[in-house]
């Protein structure tokens, strides 16, 4: 009964929506809303990368590049070209999608560490452009992002951004769930396990990889746009290698091939540094040790490991 319920494609998005609503109702202050919003925004790019890395098994160490494109689209276009912010978000996703489509075809023919290095190079390239094109991006100091206006109201409060990001994230999870529950979704999971068998079953592996790369790039770009609009300021750090690694870590830590796993990873990577800041100098050390422990004792990631234990406990 419970298992059948859990298989329903609305179960996971509904559960995530419920948790977001409850947390939104109990958070005590703007400070907590800020952190929670950062979790939701990170969760969006983690959801996209989970489709690519967790389900299709294709690594990308350059996804922060797409986050950077999305962030700078809402920073640059309104400031320099008087494009409305909403349209700028759309332009950012369009550019990210097209770039992913163009570079995806040749890059995704590579496998494993070759693919890792190629995507890494792409991310670094974007970060370099953002750093060097001072006239457009403000260089290493970054630039201010004008606030977005919806129905004539200027949106600034962390609370508003929490609800906006929450809505976007739940919609993204619904789309991802739908995709997974279709022939495209089965194909991308199949090519993860055996590319030769997938091809022999008639799956155009190059096409499926390219589709999932574009979707994950669009999600990352959207998350970058949300971040920039929420934060009011962007720097090239958003497209840095470190940020790419952080998104990958969210997926691996929380659970490859589990949408809620990626979100749990986002919670850990955003909240833990804040919680550990109490320990000042030891913050990074503790964070590192904790991640190693999780990966040693929960190899499949937090959510899949716990789900398996839960299922065995019930049987």
């Amino acid at each position: 009964m419970m298992a059948r319920f859990r298989q329903n494609r609305w179960f996971e998005p509904a559960l995530i929506a419920l948790i977001i609503i409850i947390i939104g109702l109990v958070l005590p202050s703007t400070y907590y809303f800020r952190i929670a919003t950062l979790v939701l925004i990170a969760g969006l790019s983690a959801t996209g990368l989970n489709l690519l890395l967790g389900y299709a098994g294709q690594i990308s160490l350059g996804h922060a590049g797409f986050v950077g494109i999305g962030a700078y689209a809402v920073a640059v276009l309104p400031a320099k070209f008087a494009v409305p912010s909403l349209l700028a978000i759309f332009c950012g996703t369009l550019v990210s999608g097209v770039v992913a489509l163009i570079i995806g075809r040749p890059i995704l023919r590579l496998k494993d560490h070759f693919l890792a290095v190629a995507t890494l190079a792409f991310g670094i390239l974007i970060a370099m452009v953002l750093n060097n094109e001072q006239w457009l991006t403000g260089g290493p100091d970054g630039m201010a992002v004008s606030r977005i206006e919806l129905f004539g109201i200027r949106i600034r409060s962390a609370q508003s951004w929490y609800w906006i990001s929450g809505t976007v994230l739940v919609l993204a999870v619904v789309l991802a769930r739908n995709l997974l529950d279709s022939s495209t979704g089965r194909a991308l999971r199949a090519l993860h396990d055996s590319e030769v068998a997938a091809r022999s079953a008639g799956i155009d592996v190059a096409r499926i990889k390219s589709i999932v790369f574009v979707i994950s790039a669009v999600f990352a770009s959207l998350s970058g746009s949300l971040y920039a609009l929420f934060n009011g300021h962007v720097t090239p750090d958003i497209a840095s290698f470190l940020n790419s690694i952080e998104i990958v870590t969210m997926v691996v830590l929380g659970g490859m091939g589990s949408l809620s796993g990626g979100l749990v990873g986002a919670v850990i990577l955003v909240v833990l540094p804040q919680a550990l800041s109490f320990f000042h100098e030891y913050e990074h050390l503790l964070l590192g040790v904790l991640m190693i422990l999780i990966l040693v004792f929960m190899r499949a990631g937090i959510v899949p490991t716990l789900a398996a234990r839960w299922a065995r406990g019930r049987l």
Binding site: R9, V174, L175, R177, N178, L179, D181, S182, S183, T184, G185, R186, A187, R189, A190, H192, D193, S194, V196, A197, A198, R199, S200, A201, G202, I203, D204, V205, I211, I215, G257
Partner: protein, 261 residues
């Protein structure tokens, strides 16, 4: 008319002719077997026909069209399906989903509809699942349909490979050692399945070590040795061929306790 024709097919790996000047053809509903000692080039020949490798000599035609240069996915969409000797299972997916992937070529490709989860996609999922279950029934896998494929026994995985290949509704099915590593009961079961598939008009190209299985089910047999055709004909004809006995059947006599069982 011939469904599949192989004409003077060959490939070299680093100067070694793994497959050399092999020709044969198969018609619908026929069971055609390829036998030969280990390293004779049987699996290489399979990989050439199914598009995994590209030949450097000769050609393969399917219903008269040259398909030698086509990738595996293009061959699959022309009705050629295969199984793998070294099990290529989608281990993290359920048994049922494995077979559903087999039906991929009959499903829609509209990604936008898939993302939106339109009612038509849900209806398609149901149709695909229903059809997948028919193949699970056919290969006696229905009771493990919801298990993770990686948890199945070896014999079950062998049958899952066949179920997935059958799900693409092929005109020609390539089976690479479907009974290897199976016990006599499982082998007899696979034997029965192969015959029943051929009876529906599907041509079967079989590579097999199990001589009893090959001689029992095959309409014609081709013997491969060191990449070349040694003999071709009806099973009993081939079994009496002196050079075949020398190269293959006699192998056990010559080297008792040889390299394979």
């Amino acid at each position: 008319m011939n469904l599949l024709s192989v004409e003077h097919l060959g490939i070299s790996f680093g100067g070694v002719r793994a497959v050399d000047d092999v020709s044969f053809s198969i018609s619908p509903g026929e069971i055609f077997s390829i036998i030969g000692p280990n390293g004779a080039g049987k699996t290489t020949l399979f990989n050439l026909i199914s598009g995994v490798y590209r030949s450097d000599m000769g050609r393969v035609t399917l219903r008269g069209d040259d398909v030698s240069r086509l990738p595996p996915e293009a061959l699959a969409s022309r009705g050629l399906a295969r199984t793998f000797q070294n099990l290529q299972i989608f281990a993290r997916m359920s048994v049922e989903e494995n077979v559903m992937v087999g039906l991929h070529r009959h499903e829609t490709r509209n990604v936008l509809a898939h993302l939106l989860g339109l009612p038509s996609v849900m209806a398609e999922n149901r149709r695909t699942r229903d059809e997948a279950r028919r193949y699970l029934d056919m290969l006696h896998l229905r009771q493990v349909a919801d298990e993770v494929a990686g948890s199945l026994s070896y014999g079950e995985l062998k049958r899952l490979e066949i179920a997935r290949a059958m799900a693409s509704r092929p005109d020609i099915l390539l089976l690479d050692e479907p009974a290897a590593g199976c016990n006599p009961t499982e082998t007899a079961e696979i034997d029965e399945i192969i015959v029943s598939i051929a009876r529906t008009g599907v041509a079967i190209l079989l590579v097999e070590h199990d001589m009893k299985l090959v001689m029992g089910v095959s309409d014609r047999v081709l013997v491969l040795n060191q990449g070349r055709v040694l003999a071709e004909g009806a099973p009993d004809e081939v079994a009496r061929n002196p050079s075949v006995i020398d190269a293959y059947l006699g192998h056990d006599k010559g080297a008792a306790g040889g390299d394979h069982v």
